[in-house]
C-alpha cells in the first residue's frame, strides 16, 4: 500500500525518517504556470475583443496568484506531503474558467438576457470562498479518518441536501430541472455539496459492511450473487437516485450518485457482480424514467435528434431548446485549432452559455487541441485521486478518495458528454470551469479532502523509537 512513498530504498525502518521528497517546490513551480497561463489567456481575450490589454489584468492576475499562493502556503504548512499536481491543475482550470466567463461577460447578447455581465467578478469571489473552504479543510481536518465518525450524520445531511430543492418556496425550477434552491437572492445547487457528504457516508458505511457484502454470497454463472438482505443498501441508493430523477428531473445528479455508489461498492467488496448489478439497475431505471417522465424523455429526444429539436425550438414550440444544436455548431465551428479566445460566437447558445455549456466556448475558441488539453487535465486530476486511493493506508481513506475521484470523473463525463452530444444533456456544471458558486466551492473542498488523504498516504512512516541495539547499523547522513 505504501510502496509509492519510498521508491529509492526499501530499508524503510531506518531511512524513512530522513524524509521522502515532499514535492512542494514542484507544486510551486507548476502553480506559476497555472496562474501565468490564465493571465495570458485573459490578455488574449481583451486584445481580441477590445484591441487592448484588459484594464483588470493586474488585479485579476494578482487575485488568482494570491489565491493560489495562499493555497500553496497552507498545503506547505498543513499537508507537506500532499500530491503536488492536484492544486496546480485545479488552479489552472479555475483560472481558465474565469477567463472564459469574463470573455462571455463581454457579449452584448448574453448581457441583454442577463446570462452574462459582471459574472467573472462573482466567480472570482466564489473562487476565494472555495479556496477559503479548501484552507479550512486542510487546517481543521488534521486526519481524514475523523470523518469516519460522522458516517450516519453524513447520510442524514446528504439526504437533507438532496431533498432541499423539493421544499416548496425554496426550490427553483430552472428549465425543467429542480436542482437549485434560492436563499436570500443566492441560488445554490445542494447536489454539489451532497456529492462530498454522500461520499463520506458511503466510505464509512462500506468500510464497516464490506466483509459481509463481499463474503456472504453464492456463486452463480461465474458471478458472486449477493444475499438478498445484502442487496438492501444498493436498492435503497438506487431508489433514492430514481426518486431524484423523478422529482428533480435531473438525470445527471441521479447517475452521478448511483455511479459513485457502485464504484465504491465494487472497490470495497472486490466483487464484479456489483458492477453488473449496478449497470443493469441504472439502465433499467434510466430507461423506465425516460419513458414516462416528459422532461427526461425530451432530453433524450433532443440528444437523438438535435437538429429536429432545434427546428422545433425555432418554430416556437414550448419546452424545446436549441442549445444542444448550438453547442454542436460551436464545437464544429472551432475545428482543430479554434477561432482564438474572444473570436467565436458561442453566445448563440444563450441561456447557460457560461455555466453548463461553457465547454462549448472552449471548443469553439480553443478548438480540438484546447478541449483535448482540458479533458486530459481533468483526467489527470482523476488519476491523481485514484493514485491517492491506491497509496492510502486505510480502507476509509481509500474508499473516500476513490469515491470522490470517481464522482469527479463521472461528473466530467456526464457534463462534457452531454454538451458534446455523446449522451443526453443534464443540468450539471463542468467542475472549476463553469460559472456557479456551489460548484466551485464544493469542488475546492473536494480537492482539499483529496490533498488531505494524499498527504496522509505519502507521509513517511513515523520513525521507530531509538533502539540501543541499532548502534552497529547507524547510518551516516549526508
Amino acid at each position: 500500500m505504501s510502496s509509492s512513498t519510498n521508491t529509492t530504498t526499501h530499508h524503510t525502518s531506518t531511512i524513512g525518517s530522513i524524509g521522502a521528497p515532499s514535492r512542494r517546490n514542484t507544486e510551486l513551480a507548476l502553480l506559476v504556470f497555472a496562474v501565468a497561463i490564465p493571465v495570458f489567456a485573459y490578455a488574449n481575450v481583451g486584445l481580441a475583443i477590445n484591441g487592448s490589454v484588459p484594464a483588470g489584468l493586474l488585479s485579476y492576475g494578482l487575485g488568482l496568484g494570491l489565491l493560489a499562493g495562499v493555497g500553496h502556503l497552507v498545503v506547505r504548512k498543513f499537508a507537506p506531503y500532499a500530491d503536488p499536481l492536484l492544486l496546480p491543475l485545479a488552479t489552472l482550470l479555475n483560472g481558465l474558467g474565469l477567463v472564459v466567463i469574463w470573455r462571455l461577460d463581454q457579449s452584448k447578447l448574453l448581457q441583454s438576457i442577463h446570462v452574462a455581465g459582471g459574472k467573472a467578478t462573482n466567480q472570482l469571489l466564489y473562487t476565494a470562498m472555495g479556496i477559503a473552504l479548501f484552507v479550512m479543510v486542510l487546517v481543521f481536518l488534521k486526519d481524514h479518518r475523523t470523518l469516519q465518525r460522522y458516517t450516519y450524520i453524513s447520510m442524514v445531511a446528504a439526504l437533507f441536501l438532496l431533498l432541499l430543492p423539493l421544499v416548496p418556496g425554496l426550490g427553483l425550477n430552472v428549465y425543467g430541472a429542480k436542482i437549485w434552491i434560492s436563499v436570500g437572492g443566492f441560488t445554490i445547487q445542494p447536489g454539489e455539496f451532497a456529492k462530498i457528504v454522500l461520499a463520506v457516508f458511503f466510505a464509512g458505511y462500506l468500510m464497516v459492511k464490506r466483509d459481509a457484502l463481499a463474503l456472504a454470497s453464492r456463486r452463480f454463472m461465474g458471478l458472486y450473487l449477493p444475499r438478498g438482505r445484502d442487496l438492501g443498501p444498493i436498492l435503497v441508493v438506487w431508489a433514492i437516485s430514481i426518486l431524484i430523477l423523478v422529482f428533480e428531473t435531473d438525470l445527471g445528479t441521479s447517475l452521478l450518485f448511483f455511479g459513485m455508489f457502485v464504484i465504491m461498492l465494487y472497490v470495497a467488496t472486490e466483487r464484479t457482480s456489483w458492477i453488473v448489478f449496478g449497470l443493469l439497475m441504472s439502465a433499467a431505471g434510466a430507461v423506465g424514467v425516460a419513458s414516462f417522465e416528459p422532461h427526461v424523455n425530451m432530453r433524450v429526444q433532443a440528444w437523438l435528434d438535435p437538429m429536429g429539436e432545434y427546428a422545433l425550438s425555432r418554430k416556437g414550440v414550448a419546452g424545446h431548446s436549441e442549445q444542444a444544436m448550438q453547442a454542436l455548431w460551436a464545437f464544429g465551428s472551432g475545428g482543430t485549432l479554434g477561432t482564438g479566445l474572444g473570436q467565436g460566437h458561442s453566445e448563440l447558445i444563450r441561456f447557460a452559455a457560461n455555466s453548463d455549456f461553457i465547454l462549448a466556448t472552449f471548443g469553439e475558441e480553443l478548438g480540438l487541441a484546447g478541449i483535448m488539453a482540458i479533458l486530459l487535465i481533468y483526467g489527470l486530476i482523476v488519476e491523481r485521486g485514484v493514485r491517492t486511493a491506491l497509496a492510502a493506508r486505510d480502507p476509509f481513506g481509500k474508499l473516500l478518495a476513490v469515491g470522490l475521484s470517481g464522482a469527479f470523473a463521472l461528473q466530467v463525463f456526464v457534463v462534457a458528454g452531454g454538451v458534446m452530444g455523446l449522451i443526453p444533456l443534464t443540468g450539471m456544471t463542468m467542475p472549476f470551469l463553469a460559472y456557479g458558486g456551489s460548484s466551485v466551492i464544493a469542488n475546492w473542498a473536494l480537492i482539499g479532502i483529496l490533498i488531505r488523504i494524499s498527504d496522509t498516504a505519502r507521509r513517511p512512516a513515523p520513525s521507530p523509537a531509538p533502539n540501543p541495539d541499532a548502534e552497529m547499523t547507524q547510518v551516516v547522513r549526508p
Binding site: M1, K108, L109, Q111, S112, I113, I263, Y266, V267, A268, E270, M307, Y310, M325, L328, W329, F331, G332, S333, G334, G335, T336, H345, L348, G363, G367, L368, I371, M372, L375, L376, Y378, G379, V382, E383, V386, R387, A389, L390, P395, K398, L399, V402, S405, G406, A409, L410, V412, F413, A416, G417, M420, G421, L422
Partner: protein
C-alpha cells in the same frame, strides 16, 4: 482493495478516452459539416463581417457598405447600401441581412463576399499578411445616363413598365429599368422594426403594384405589333417576299383562315395589297397576319426561336423565357404573328429583336457583367461578347432596317426621331385581358444608327398607363419618347 482500484483507474481513463474520441469526431471529422451548416448562424455572421464588394457602373460604385452598430439584437457588422437604389434595383437586385440576396447580388455573391474560389489565392495572401478578407467588385456594362433616361421616362409616365437598352454589336446591356421600383437599402439590415416593415410593405400582397418585380427580365407581356418585326424577318428569310417594296397580295377585309372571323386593322389604313414597308409603317394586322398564316407555325416558330423566344437568358441574372406558342392552328398562327394569342415577350426579348436587326442580323448574347475584379482592382474574368444566333442574313437585315426606319420617318414612330442619327423602330399596342378589358400595353422597340453605319443602341420600352384612356395609348405616344431619350443618352455618351 488495490485490484479494483486499478480497474476503476482504467474505467475513469476510458471515460476520458470516450470524451476525447467524441471530441475528435465532432471537431475534426464533422467540423466542416457543422461549420458550414446553413442553419449555423456563424455562416451569416461571417458573411456580413466584412464590407461587401461593390457593383460598378461607368467606373462609379452604385452600392456601398455601412458599418452597423453590433449590439445584443444585431450581430452583423456590415449592411448593404445603394445609391439611387430604386433606379438600379432591376440591375443589382438586393442583398439584405434579413432576407438574403437576389439577382446580381446573389449570382455574383461569391465575388462580392470574397468567398469565391477565384479569390482563394488572394485571400490566403491577405490572411498571411493579416489583412481582413475583402470582397471583389462586379463591373457592369450599364450606362448611367441611359439608365437614368429610362427610369425617369417610366417614372414620368407613371404606369407600370420597363425599358431595356442593348449594345447591338456586343449584347452589352446599357439600361435595365423597371417601374414602380423599390429601394433595396430600405430593408438591407436586420431590424424587425425597420427592415421587416419595409419588406412587408413591398410584398405583392400588400402592394398591388408589385414593386419588387423586375419587369425588364421577369415579366412577359403580349408584344403586340412590335412582333411584326419578327414576322417580317421570317417572311424575308423564308423567301416569301424578297424586298420591302414588293406587293404582298393581301386582301382587305382579311378573314382568318378556316374561320368566319375578320382580322381587323386599327382604323382605316391603306393595307390592301400593301408592301411590307407600308404594312409596317401603318402597322397592318391583315398583312402580317396573312404572312404568319402563309408561312405556317413551324417557320414562324423557328424564326422566333432564333430571336431568342422560348428560352431563358442568363445575363447572368436569369430572364424569363418569352413565349411563342408551339401548338397552334392556322388562325392562331396568324394571331400569334401579330403579337397576340399566346405570344408573350420580356422587354429584354424585344430589345434583342431590335438589336439583331440593327446588328445586320447577328444576335449577340445579352450580358450585364463586363468583368469581375478583385479588391485590388485586378481583373478576374472579362466577359467576351458572344454570338447567340443569326436570325437574319445581312441583306435581309438591311431590308428590315430600311422598313423600320420608314416607321420612324413617316409612320407610327415619328416621336422617336433624333437629329443627326438614323433611327429605326416599331410601335405596338397590345390589348390583353378577357375581351381586351384591361389596360393595353404600349410598346416601342427601336435602334439608333450613327452616320458611320455603326449601331450603338437598341431599345425596348413597354408601358401600361393607368391614367390615360384606352384610345390614347399607343406605342408611339407613350413609349417612343422614352426610347428616344435612352438612345439619345447612349449616343451622347459615345461622342
Amino acid at each position: 482493495m488495490n485490484k479494483p482500484l486499478r480497474r476503476i483507474a482504467i474505467f475513469c481513463g476510458l471515460l476520458v478516452l470516450a470524451l476525447l474520441v467524441r471530441d475528435n469526431w465532432l471537431q475534426y471529422v464533422q467540423a466542416d459539416t457543422l461549420r458550414s451548416d446553413t442553419e449555423n448562424r456563424r455562416v451569416l455572421i461571417a458573411r456580413y463581417s466584412t464590407p461587401r464588394g461593390d457593383i460598378i457602373v461607368d467606373g462609379n460604385p452604385i452600392t456601398g457598405s455601412k458599418k452597423t452598430p453590433t449590439d445584443s439584437l444585431n450581430d452583423f457588422a456590415y449592411k448593404r447600401t445603394y445609391k439611387d437604389g430604386a433606379m438600379w434595383a432591376p440591375v443589382t437586385g438586393f442583398a439584405s441581412q434579413a432576407f438574403g440576396a437576389t439577382q446580381l447580388e446573389s449570382v455574383e455573391d461569391g465575388i462580392l463576399t470574397g468567398d469565391d474560389d477565384r479569390l482563394f489565392f488572394r485571400n490566403t495572401l491577405d490572411m498571411l499578411t493579416g489583412k481582413p478578407k475583402q470582397g471583389g467588385n462586379v463591373v457592369t456594362t450599364l450606362n448611367a445616363a441611359a439608365q437614368k433616361a429610362a427610369y425617369d421616362g417610366l417614372k414620368k409616365v407613371g404606369g407600370k413598365g420597363a425599358a431595356v437598352a442593348l449594345d447591338p454589336q456586343t449584347g452589352a446591356i446599357l439600361a435595365l429599368a423597371s417601374y414602380p421600383s423599390y429601394d433595396p437599402s430600405s430593408f438591407a439590415g436586420n431590424s424587425t422594426s425597420v427592415d421587416s416593415k419595409a419588406w412587408t410593405a413591398l410584398q405583392k400582397k400588400n402592394n398591388p403594384n408589385d414593386p419588387m418585380l423586375n419587369r425588364a427580365l421577369r415579366e412577359t407581356y403580349p408584344p403586340g405589333s412590335t412582333f411584326k418585326v419578327v414576322t417580317a424577318a421570317a417572311a424575308l428569310e423564308n423567301g416569301l417576299y424578297n424586298s420591302a417594296d414588293e406587293n404582298t397580295d393581301s386582301p382587305l377585309p382579311y378573314i382568318l383562315p378556316n374561320t368566319q372571323t375578320e382580322l381587323k386593322n386599327e382604323g382605316n389604313i391603306p393595307c390592301k395589297n400593301a408592301t411590307m414597308r407600308v404594312a409596317l409603317q401603318f402597322s397592318c394586322n391583315t398583312v402580317f397576319g396573312k404572312i404568319g398564316a402563309d408561312l405556317g407555325k413551324d417557320k414562324m416558330l423557328e424564326e422566333a426561336k432564333k430571336f431568342g423566344f422560348d428560352s431563358e437568358q442568363f445575363t447572368p441574372v436569369r430572364s424569363n423565357a418569352s413565349n411563342f406558342p408551339e401548338k397552334m392552328d392556322r388562325p392562331q398562327t396568324a394571331l400569334s404573328s401579330i403579337g397576340q394569342f399566346e405570344t408573350a415577350a420580356t422587354p429584354l426579348q424585344m430589345a434583342m429583336v431590335a438589336s439583331a436587326v440593327a446588328n445586320d442580323g447577328k444576335l449577340m448574347k445579352p450580358y450585364m457583367v463586363d468583368k469581375l475584379e478583385a479588391s485590388s482592382l485586378d481583373t478576374l474574368t472579362q466577359t467576351q461578347p458572344e454570338e447567340l444566333s443569326r436570325p437574319l442574313s445581312e441583306k435581309n437585315a438591311q431590308v428590315l432596317q430600311s422598313m423600320m426606319e420608314t416607321v420612324v420617318q413617316k409612320g407610327t414612330g415619328t416621336n422617336a426621331q433624333l437629329p443627326g442619327v438614323t433611327v429605326g423602330g416599331k410601335t405596338g399596342t397590345a390589348q390583353h385581358g378577357l375581351n381586351n378589358s384591361e389596360k393595353p400595353y404600349a410598346w416601342f422597340i427601336s435602334y439608333a444608327k450613327l452616320p458611320d453605319g455603326s449601331s450603338p443602341v437598341a431599345v425596348a420600352v413597354v408601358v401600361e398607363d393607368d391614367k390615360a384612356n384606352r384610345d390614347d395609348i399607343s406605342g408611339g405616344g407613350l413609349a417612343a419618347p422614352i426610347a428616344k431619350n435612352v438612345m439619345e443618352a447612349v449616343v451622347k455618351s459615345k461622342k
